[in-house]
Symmetry: C2
Subunit: 82 residues, 2 copies
């Protein structure tokens, strides 16, 4: 059993209107030190496999097929045992 | 200048219908080893401050006031210099 922590972020070159909206909201609340905001997704998956390299391979496939849109998003993940 | 990496997750006791939908989609794609899925948010903020403890305090305030709904969500963050 592994826990996979998956981070999905927009590629650098892709505009992030949601991040800009949050930045504007922070400014209007007085947080002018928030110079830039980028919003991504964070997912925790419990993976019912015992072999770590197999789990890595399967989570990579999940990211490529469903969890990330690789045209505009990057992903990375870490596996935690137990 | 700091980069704040902010993770916002639903509290353990809160149901996650989006996570369940992703889990069902993973199963229908053949990823039956995905036993549980929880979806959260991941944000990268550039913080234009030089003092780390001040930056920590301000990011905490941002999380409390805007970035997380502390009734149903937990947050944590890390600060990276530069």
């Amino acid at each position: 059993m592994f826990k996979a922590l998956v981070y999905v972020t927009l590629k650098e070159s892709v505009l992030d209107p949601q991040g800009n909206a949050v930045k504007d909201s922070l400014h209007s609340l007085g947080f002018n030190e928030a110079a830039d905001v980028r919003i991504g997704k964070y997912m925790e998956l419990e993976i019912d496999l015992d072999d770590k390299s197999q789990a890595e391979q399967r989570v990579t496939e999940m990211c490529e097929k469903l969890l990330a849109n690789t045209v505009i998003e990057d992903y990375r993940f870490e596996l935690i045992e137990g």
